[in-house]
Amino acid sequence: MVKIEHKRAHFLVHLGNFKFEHTIEPRYWRNPLIAIAFLFILPALIAGRADMLSLLTTANIYALIAIPLAWQMVGIGRMNFGPQFFLAIGGFTASLLSIHFHWGPWQTLPCVLVMGLIFGLLLSPFSTLAKGLYFSLITLVLPLIFLEITFVYTDIFKGETGLSGVAPLIQTGSIRMDYVVGAYMSLVLMLIFLLIVDKVLRSRFGIYAAAINDDEDVARGLGLNINKWKFICFTITSMMVTMAGWFAAHYYGNFAGITYLPLSFMLKVLLMVMIGGRGEIYGSIIGAYFVALLEKALTFLGPINYVVFPLILLILLFSLPEGLYGLYRRHKYKEYYPTIKVRNR
């Protein structure tokens, strides 16, 4: 029996044994709506500057990786040192299919999602079987293996130079419009990811993730099926990161393993989540934007920016215990502040 009620600001869906209710509270949405409105106007304002639009899109792509990563690390209670493995799977699948079969981006998308699903399912048993530190090491090693494979099988993966000639996302005829539309697409995709993860973490699944993160054995004793929820969390977040790889491959038109697989990129992504505010979703977006801006701003220093960039990140990591998000809003006492445990001994 389906029953849908709507009273003023309260929304209720009653479907057999399943019940979902939602209250719309405008005062909590004010700040996020202002930020979203600003982000939507931004590409139109800077439509002339292609480099700024590219920077915005890069920042959004970083955010596309950071948002699911923040969810994953809380939801499986382990630290993932290799999110770029799934990024590379998505990117390489999209690039190879596009180059060899001349498929457009919307045709490669289903294949990319399927590949993400397959690898996510293959690797998710280790999120339950491997103890915390060993899981982190497994995820650390996987992208390095992928990188070696791109060098060894150079004819397929073009290890040194990377694949190029990937079909672009959108072709409007005018290069300027291409950049603007690309920026808007990345923005919309990022907001979709944000909406999904935010809704999930505010619902009962967020409580499950918090319980798994805090004390797995006790949660299991209370009737929570740990394995099922960890599998689901890991697989879905891996698929989301794979989609980020798909977007990056089609937007830039090329995809090189050497850009995305080494440890330096991993540290960049990890620090986006950690500096932004460990585990906070909005914090990871702020972290992603900050890192993208910092990277761009430091290029004027010349080759020494490769040293200064991680140095600044290290200083921020030390000095901001609550991340950049903590500067914006003092951590409220009763909010769940996840701690990611590496060793589950």
């Binding site: 630290m79 040192f81 280790f126 491997a130 103890k131 530190l133 060993y134 982190s136 090491l137 497994i138 090693v141 996987l142 390095l144 293996i145 070696e148 494979i149 060894v152 440890l263 330096s264 540290l267 990890l270 620090l271 950690m274 460990r278 080759p303 020494i304 490769y306 040293v307 991680p310 140095l311 990140l313 290290l314 990591l317 030390f318 701690t339 990611i340 445990k341 590496v342 060793r343």
Partner: protein, 291 residues
């Protein structure tokens, strides 16, 4: 067939001893401090580039340069790694591992900026030049020297840990730091001593292998991978296991290099790490202590 086997055995001995020396420091840190030092690659970089700076920029001779580099090594380990990072984040492991990786990246990029690959860094520490022909292959004698030095260093470290009073305290702290504190051991001093002790084997390793190995700022990464593999295969923090695991990994590396394809050697090591991590993360040794 027999010749290939002979070559593989010789290289197993050489690689195995080298990997043992490289991993010894990592095992000591892992066993005593119970942390995973992902910044281990820095030790190698400071060793090589420290000597280079002392000889080229400051014009020291080789031996004073090595002494100066050792002082620099200890200062860096205590001043940058031990006090700010390890002591602050001993409980929060995600921050610990991330900051160690970050420091390793910063040092690597700084050295890359100052002395890129093309700078032609070389360390003239050849003890016995020339090469020797064993069976069908020609090996630089330096490599045999390295293998010999590796074994001597391992025996020296073991004698230190087994026969001296400080070694006994270190072993006690590695098994149970709280009980050792109750017995009066100053755990912080022991940790500092262990970190300095852990710096010595990799320094010796990279200095003696420098003439026959390519020196570039990225050499920390592969050596760290080897250290991780050997220490996990041998059981984290256990020297007996490390010794066994080093020769097993040496065997796999040389077998892959000579029987299949030398380009696959690094990949084979990585795949071996993955398999060990997935299916037998406790490693081969049984005990939870340093020896």
């Amino acid at each position: 067939m027999l010749d290939t086997l002979q070559i593989i055995l010789i290289y197993t001995f050489i690689f195995g001893s080298l990997y043992l020396l490289v991993t010894l420091g990592f095992t000591i840190i892992c066993g005593v401090l119970r942390i995973f030092n992902l910044g281990y690659g820095i030790t190698f970089l400071i060793a090589v580039y420290g000597v280079w700076i002392f000889t080229k920029e400051l014009g020291f001779g080789l031996i004073p340069a090595i002494l100066g580099m050792i002082i620099l090594q200890c200062a860096f380990t205590l001043g940058v790694i031990y006090f700010p990072i390890v002591k602050r984040y001993a409980e929060k492991e995600e921050l610990l591992l991330t900051s160690l990786l970050l420091v390793a990246l910063i040092v690597e990029q700084a050295i890359n900026y100052q002395y890129p690959v093309t700078a032609g860094v070389n360390i003239p520490t050849t003890i016995i030049p020339g090469s020797i022909k064993i069976g069908l292959t020609t090996i630089p004698i330096q490599m045999l020297v390295v293998a010999g030095i590796a074994i001597i260093t391992t025996i020296a470290v073991l004698l230190f840990l087994l026969k001296t009073k400080i070694g006994l305290v270190i072993r006690a702290v590695s098994q149970d730091s709280e009980s050792s504190q109750l017995m009066g051991a100053n755990v912080n001093v022991v940790y500092a001593i262990a970190m300095i002790l852990a710096v010595i084997p990799p320094t010796i390793a990279i200095l003696t292998i420098a003439p026959v190995w390519s020196i570039d700022p990225q050499l920390g990464g592969p050596l760290l991978q080897i250290a991780i593999l050997v220490s996990i295969l041998g059981g984290l923090g256990n020297i007996k296991g490390t010794i066994m695991a080093a020769y097993i990994v040496g065997f796999v590396a040389s077998a892959v290099a000579f029987l299949i394809n030398p380009k696959l050697m690094n990949l084979a090591i990585l795949v071996l790490v993955l398999i060990v991590l997935m299916f037998k993360p406790q490693g081969i040794a049984r005990s939870e202590s340093l020896w």
